[in-house]
Structures are given as structure tokens and as C-alpha cells.
């Protein structure tokens, strides 16, 4: 049997990126919510809910980036060059966000500063990811395999919209996670915060989806052409249904909020994949053009097949160990 390694790897990287978006999404969401939560003790609790798992969550970003480098080196090189400024801005923001987990508890005098660093780092990292998503959908100027665009090509009204969409989306994921992990009055406050976020996210999703079909006629064709429109219609329709359900869940449910938000993220992600496939550097370069040699892909696949289930196993175990409501505990 001949394996389509290129296809397998593009799907694996897509899975890694989605794992990153959802897992680090709620970590980042907690930082995005910080400005709305004033009490230091509650902020500490919020951080405690993710302190044991954020390292693992962040690792999916390295797998996504590293996997792209290994499996599609040309795409990696082009995208990193085109997104030079947002990539570095995101990385520096993640530096602040990452160390804040340790530093916040080490210092009483400067706790406010580290709270600010954590929050600003989370917001900026999320916004940069959204802006890159927007720039990615809009396409990258490539000629003869070289990036020929400018340093600010990624910045446009559309990418700014995508940036806000991601920030709000992450905030909602974070709220869903916290509603699950917190109790009492504080949980009530979080529910109040979530309501406007749901409306904002719904509006954002509508605008971004419609704008996407205007960015490139090929995208519109893919969605609106018959018979595609019939096959693909369930994606937006189910998303609308989930948003409606989410609106009601936010008011009274404890665990479903997070689950529904994940569902919405998943559908958006699938829709995004359908729009762009098979391009890995839109609008021209497909994943097949950019792929690494077959034997590299095959060699890595052995590792991925053996190790990914193990990774998922112990990651699930770590989450299970820290299941349930989070109190004020830490090791500090």
C-alpha cells in the first residue's frame, strides 16, 4: 500500500494547531479576562486552574511550528518571513505570559506588574495569532518560491477583525473553563462576563465568515457553488445552533459552556480548512509543493504514530489529576 504521507502530515499539523488553539486558547483567555477581575485572590485562583497544565498546552505550539518546519519546510520558511513582525511580537508576548505563571507568586511587591504582563502578554499573543490568521487567508505574495511582499502585508482591516475575533473567542473559552473550575459568587461574576462575549463572538463570526468569501472569489465559489452549498450548509447552520445553545448555557450550566465553545471553535476551524485546502501558503502554494522528502515524512510518522497516543494518554492523566474545582493551593 502506498501511503499519502503528505496528506497525513498536513492533517497531523492541522490537528496539532487545533490542539494548540483550544488548549492554549483557554490559558490565554484567562489572561484576557484579567482586566475584568480586580481581586488579587481571584486572579491567583484563575492562574492556579492552569498552572499545572500550561506547559503542556504550549508544547502544541512548538509541535505545530516544528512540524511545519519538518514536513513542509518551504511553507514554514515563507510564512515565517511574511509574518516576521506578528511572529516575533507573539513570541515576546508569550515570554511575558509564560514567566508570569512563576513570577506572580514569587513577588508580593510586584504582583500587579506581573498581572499586567500576564494579561497584556495574553491579549497581544492572541491578537497576533488572529492577525496572522487574517493575513494567511488573504494570501501571501510569493514569486519563484521567494516572499516578495512587504513587512506589513499582514495588516489589513480584515486581519484586524480576525484579531478581535480570536481575542474574544479565547476570552469565551477561558470563561467556559473558569465557570467549570470555580464556585459561588465568583462563578456568578464570570457568567455575567460571558454574556456580552457570546454576542460579540457571534457578531465577529458572522462578519469574518462573510468577509472571507469576499477576500478571494475562489473561496466564495467553494462555499456557494452547487452542489457544495448543500454539503457545506450544515457547518454554518450548526454553528448558529451552538451559539444559541451557548447563550442559554452561559446562564445556568456549569460544564457545557466550555464544551459548546470548543464545538464552535471546531466548526470554525473545519470551515477555515475547507476554504483553504489544499493551499498551505495561500493563494498559490499547495501542501504538495511545499512538502519535505518522502523519507523524512515517513521517518517522522513512525514517531508520531507511536508517541502521540502516549502523549495524549499522559496529558489526559495530568488533566484528570487536577480535575474538579480549583482552590487556593499552589506549591509556592
Amino acid at each position: 500500500m502506498i501511503m499519502d504521507y503528505q496528506l497525513i502530515w498536513v492533517l497531523l499539523i492541522a490537528v496539532a494547531v487545533f490542539a494548540y488553539v483550544t488548549l492554549d486558547g483557554f490559558d490565554l483567555g484567562i489572561g484576557i479576562l484579567f482586566p475584568f477581575i480586580k481581586e488579587a485572590k481571584n486572579r491567583g485562583r484563575m492562574m492556579n486552574t492552569v498552572a499545572p497544565v500550561w506547559d503542556g498546552n504550549e508544547t502544541w505550539l512548538i509541535l505545530g511550528g516544528g512540524g511545519l518546519y519538518a514536513a513542509f519546510p518551504q511553507a514554514y520558511s515563507l510564512l515565517m518571513t511574511a509574518f516576521y513582525i506578528p511572529v516575533f511580537t507573539m513570541l515576546l508576548a508569550l515570554v511575558f505570559r509564560g514567566v508570569a505563571f512563576e513570577f506572580r507568586f514569587k513577588s508580593k511587591n510586584h504582583q500587579k506588574h506581573w498581572d499586567f504582563a500576564f494579561s497584556a502578554g495574553s491579549i497581544i499573543a492572541a491578537a497576533m495569532q488572529g492577525a496572522m490568521l487574517g493575513g494567511f487567508i488573504e494570501g501571501i505574495a510569493v514569486e519563484n518560491g521567494r516572499f516578495v511582499g512587504g513587512a506589513f502585508d499582514w495588516l489589513s482591516p480584515f486581519s484586524v477583525f480576525c484579531a478581535t475575533a480570536v481575542v474574544v473567542g479565547y476570552a469565551l473559552l477561558g470563561t467556559g473553563w473558569l465557570i467549570m473550575k470555580m464556585e459561588g459568587d465568583f462563578q456568578g461574576n464570570l457568567r455575567k462576563l460571558a454574556k456580552p462575549a457570546v454576542i460579540w463572538m457571534a457578531a465577529n463570526l458572522g462578519v469574518v465568515s462573510l468577509m472571507t468569501t469576499y477576500v478571494n472569489p475562489v473561496y466564495a465559489q467553494r462555499w456557494f457553488e452547487t452542489p457544495n452549498i448543500f454539503y457545506l450548509a450544515p457547518i454554518p447552520l450548526v454553528t448558529i445552533g451552538l451559539l444559541y445553545w451557548l447563550w442559554h448555557a452561559v446562564k445556568k450550566r456549569e460544564k457545557t459552556v466550555f464544551g459548546i465553545t470548543l464545538g464552535i471553535f471546531f466548526l470554525c476551524y473545519v470551515g477555515f480548512g475547507i476554504t483553504l485546502f489544499p493551499n498551505i501558503v495561500p493563494p498559490m502554494i499547495t501542501f504538495r509543493d511545499a512538502a519535505a522528502p518522502e523519507n523524512s515524512l515517513a521517518f517522522m510518522l513512525v514517531g508520531a504514530v507511536v508517541l502521540l497516543p502516549i502523549i495524549l494518554g499522559y496529558t489526559a492523566y495530568a488533566y484528570w489529576v487536577f480535575r474538579g474545582k480549583t482552590g487556593d493551593e499552589g506549591y509556592h
Binding site: 506547559d55 503542556g56 515576546l92 487556593d328
Partner: protein, 462 residues
């Protein structure tokens, strides 16, 4: 105006220099924590648990900083070194992917349990988590050193359509310099950690010579220095011979030899001058250079003049960083020997000179690692992949201003973040290790190892 290539090199050197500090510390510290917890579980001696908790806090800080600076590195390949990424993607990409899959996830996945889980999973499972984190750090070293060694001594590849394609994974992973580099680096990491632990032990002994936790740290660290110091010198010598075989230009620069000679002298100090092609003010010992490198008094050593000027690495940097590394290595071995003498005379915990010496040597491992890293990386120049790709061909088509801007941002951000982080680490180090342990927690553990979160006293934000 500085050009893009030089700026990208400075940026890479800057970020890698910061990054390398943390993994080389956490590799050793993870193994140390493994030993401490094993000793605690075996002997039930609470002092080991105190020490475990003391060093765990420092580990968490260093690990966090290692993670964030490492993420930066993994993206820099694409941003600043696009053509390099395309050329090597098929070889180095999979090695790094294996690092993420086999090492990074293992460390990150179990770190949470290691830091926060003692009350939740009980001592045995917690020990498993510590073990996994320690193994993860070593796997990580394995893959990173393999990738780096391939850039130094590429093997097991063919060039197809202007890209490196692997023909044998065994040859590519276990390329000629890899075993030497891996051993030299892991020993360096262990030695570095031992020197830090020894310095912290010495600091506390200088305050209270009866401090049992400090005595244990100091004694364990001094054993490590005494054993690993000489082994490291031996391993370094083997690594040098390997470099002579595969990268003779680097060795010529390390030695400061411009002329090819039989029976070459050992230049102790001097000023290599690339323009004049000679090492000025050289203090040398006749014939010893050949003896050390070839193990023959009249062995032939190739000088830099045998290489075309555009193929020569920067001799002054390589020459001096190499001397800093070797000099510190000798001092480390001396510390080890001094500690053995003090131990035999039963003065290990009372000899003030030894404690002061150990305290001074505390940061020396980091300096030696950085110096050694510069020796090997600058010595590889002008090649980014030795003999295959020049550094000048490896850079992305990015405007110098973009690289300069991100470099300045890195300098500012790293200065703040790592400056503060180091301050927190030092502050954690000077706390009395005996106070790191809250006794009632072990009583809970003995009672069954589990505890509801509600009953736990609030300690966050301490």
C-alpha cells in the same frame, strides 16, 4: 549600517546564549531532584524532602524561562533563516520533531504533577513524574545535540534538487561528532548544576556549619565535582581529537596556529591576528601542542594558512573562548580535588577556604558552557552546515531594520524577564533549605497520600 546576515547572527547568538543557560541547568537539576526524591522515599529522611522542595522551586523558575526562550528559538529558523530551513528541513526538521514528541511533551506533561501534585497523587506516582521529567530533559539533549552535530559534521545525506535528503537515518542521527558532543554537553550540564548546588550549600554552611540540609547538598555536589571534573577533561580531549579529524580549521583557530607544522608548540596565550596571519605575543610551550592533539611529539598540525581566507573562522574569538572554557574546567577539577582532601581530613564542613572557593565557582559552569558553545559555533563558520551551506547563503530576505528592531526588542525583554527571574532564583537560593518543608504535609502523605483541596491551607501567593 550592519547587514542582515550579521544582525541575524547576532540575534541568534543572543537568544541561544540566553536559552542555553536554562536547559543546561535544568538537565542537571532534574536528575538531582530524581536522586533527592529517591533518597527520601528510601530513607524516609525528611531532610531530603526539604531539599527536594527547595530545589523544585528553583527548577520551576529555570524551567519556565527555558521553555519561553526555547519557543523563540524554534521559530527563529523560519523568520531569519528561511533558506537554511528549506535546505535542512528534511534532516533537522524530523530530529527536532522527535525532540518535541519524545522529550518536550514528556517534561511539560509531567511537570504539573511534579510541581503541584504531591498531595494529589501520592509519593510513588509523584516520583514517577519526577523520573519522567528527568528522562525528558535527557531525551531533549539527545535530539538537540544530534541536530547541532549534524550541522557540524553532516552525514547520511544526499543532495537532491538543492536540498539535503537523508539516505541513512542512523548515520544522520549518530553523525561523527554526535557521541562526543552529547557526552561533553551532558557532563557539562551535570557539572554546572553540581557547582551551583555546591555554591548554595557553601553559602548556607558559611552561615551555619551544623545545617544538615546544607551539609548534604555540599557533600553531594563536591562528590560530583571530584568525579565529573576529571572525566570531563578526558571527554573534552576526545572531543578535540574528533574535531581535529572533521573540522581542522576550527582546531587551528582554537590553537592559534597559522602555519602548518610538525611538532607544533602549545600556545598558552596570545593575540591571533587574522590580517597579519600570526598569533602575536604568543606564550608557548614547544611541541606540546602536537603531543596533546596527535599524541605524538612530532605530529603534524594544520595551520589556518592552509585554508582559503574565506574559509577561516574568526580566530581571536575561538582562541579566547576556548581558553576560558579550559581554564574554568581545570579550576573545577581543582575544586573537586580540594574537596576530597578536605573530606579525608574531615574538614569538609569546616574549611572556610573551601567554602569560599566553591561559592566563587558557583556560576563558572554557565560561563564555561557559553564559552565552549561559542568555540564550537564560531569555529564552524563561515559554514552554517559544515562544508555544505555557507552562513551567507542561509539568511531570509528580511530587511535589516526588521531584524535590528526585533533584536532590540529581544535585548530589552530578555534583560527584564531574565534579570528578574535570576533575581528570584537567587532569592530562593539564600532561603534556609530546612524551611522549604512544611512537616504536616508528610503526615498527610503517610496517612494515605491524598487530601481534599478544601482542607488544604491556602498557600498560593505566599
Amino acid at each position: 549600517m550592519l547587514d542582515a546576515e550579521l544582525l541575524a547572527r547576532i540575534q541568534f547568538a543572543f537568544t541561544v546564549s540566553f536559552h542555553i543557560i536554562f536547559p543546561s541547568f535544568t538537565i542537571g537539576l532534574a536528575s538531582f531532584l530524581f536522586v533527592l526524591e529517591a533518597l527520601w522515599l528510601r530513607t524516609k529522611d525528611e531532610t531530603y524532602l526539604s531539599l527536594y522542595k527547595f530545589w523544585m522551586k528553583i527548577f520551576a523558575l529555570a524551567f519556565g524561562m527555558g521553555v519561553v526562550s526555547g519557543i523563540v528559538m524554534s521559530y527563529q529558523f523560519g523568520t531569519n533563516w528561511g533558506p537554511f530551513s528549506e535546505f535542512t528541513g528534511g534532516v533537522i526538521g524530523p530530529l527536532l520533531a522527535y525532540e518535541v514528541l519524545s522529550a518536550f511533551f514528556l517534561e511539560a506533561g509531567f511537570l504539573g504533577i511534579m510541581l503541584f501534585g504531591l498531595n494529589r497523587v501520592g509519593p510513588k506516582l509523584h516520583f514517577t513524574a519526577t523520573t519522567m521529567v528527568a528522562i525528558g530533559t535527557l531525551f531533549s539533549a539527545f535530539w538537540i545535540l544530534s541536530a547541532n552535530s549534524w550541522m557540524q559534521t553532516p552525514d547520511g545525506y544526499v543532495i537532491e534538487n538543492g536540498r539535503a535528503v537523508v539516505s541513512s537515518w542512523i548515520d544522520a542521527i549518530f553523525n561523527p561528532s554526535f557521541p562526543y558532543r552529547l557526552v561533553h554537553m551532558v557532563l557539562a550540564a551535570y557539572l554546572t548544576t553540581a557547582l551551583v548546588v555546591g555554591a548554595v550549600g557553601a553559602w548556607h554552611l558559611m552561615r551555619d556549619r551544623e545545617n544538615r540540609a546544607a551539609r548534604i547538598m555540599f557533600s553531594m555536589a563536591m562528590w560530583m565535582a571530584a568525579i565529573l571534573g576529571p572525566i570531563q577533561i578526558f571527554a573534552g580531549d576526545l572531543h578535540g581529537l574528533n574535531t581535529l579529524e572533521h573540522q581542522p580549521a576550527k582546531v587551528a583557530a582554537m590553537e592559534g596556529h597559522f602555519e602548518t607544522r610538525e611538532g607544533a608548540s602549545l600556545i598558552l596565550f596570545g593575540m591571533p591576528d587574522m590580517e597579519e596571519e600570526e598569533t602575536k605575543y604568543a606564550v608557548e610551550i614547544p611541541k606540546l601542542g602536537s603531543m596533546i592533539l596527535t599524541h605524538e611529539w612530532d605530529g603534524k598540525i594544520t595551520g589556518l594558512k592552509d585554508f582559503a581566507p574565506e574559509d577561516r573562522p574568526n580566530a581571536p574569538i575561538v582562541f579566547w573562548t576556548f581558553r576560558i572554557m579550559v581554564g574554568l574546567g581545570v579550576l573545577m577539577a581543582l575544586l573537586g580535588i580540594a574537596s576530597v582532601i578536605a573530606r579525608v581530613r574531615k574538614k569538609l564542613y569546616s574549611c572556610g577556604y573551601l567554602h569560599r572557593f566553591a561559592l566563587l565557582m558557583g556560576p563558572s559552569g554557565f560561563v564555561a558552557i557559553l564559552a565552549g558553545w561559542f568555540t564550537t559555533e564560531v569555529g564552524r563558520q563561515p559554514w552554517v552546515v559544515y562544508g555544505l551551506m555557507r552562513t551567507s547563503e542561509a539568511g531570509s530576505p528580511v530587511a535589516p531594520t526588521a531584524i535590528a528592531g526585533s533584536l532590540i526588542a529581544f535585548v530589552v525583554v530578555y534583560a527584564i524577564v531574565f534579570g528578574v527571574g535570576t533575581a528570584y532564583i537567587l532569592r530562593a537560593m539564600v532561603k534556609d533549605p530546612r524551611s522549604a518543608h512544611v512537616p504536616d504535609e508528610t503526615e498527610i502523605l503517610r496517612a494515605g497520600g491524598r487530601q481534599s483541596t478544601a482542607a488544604h491551607p491556602p498557600v498560593a501567593g505566599e
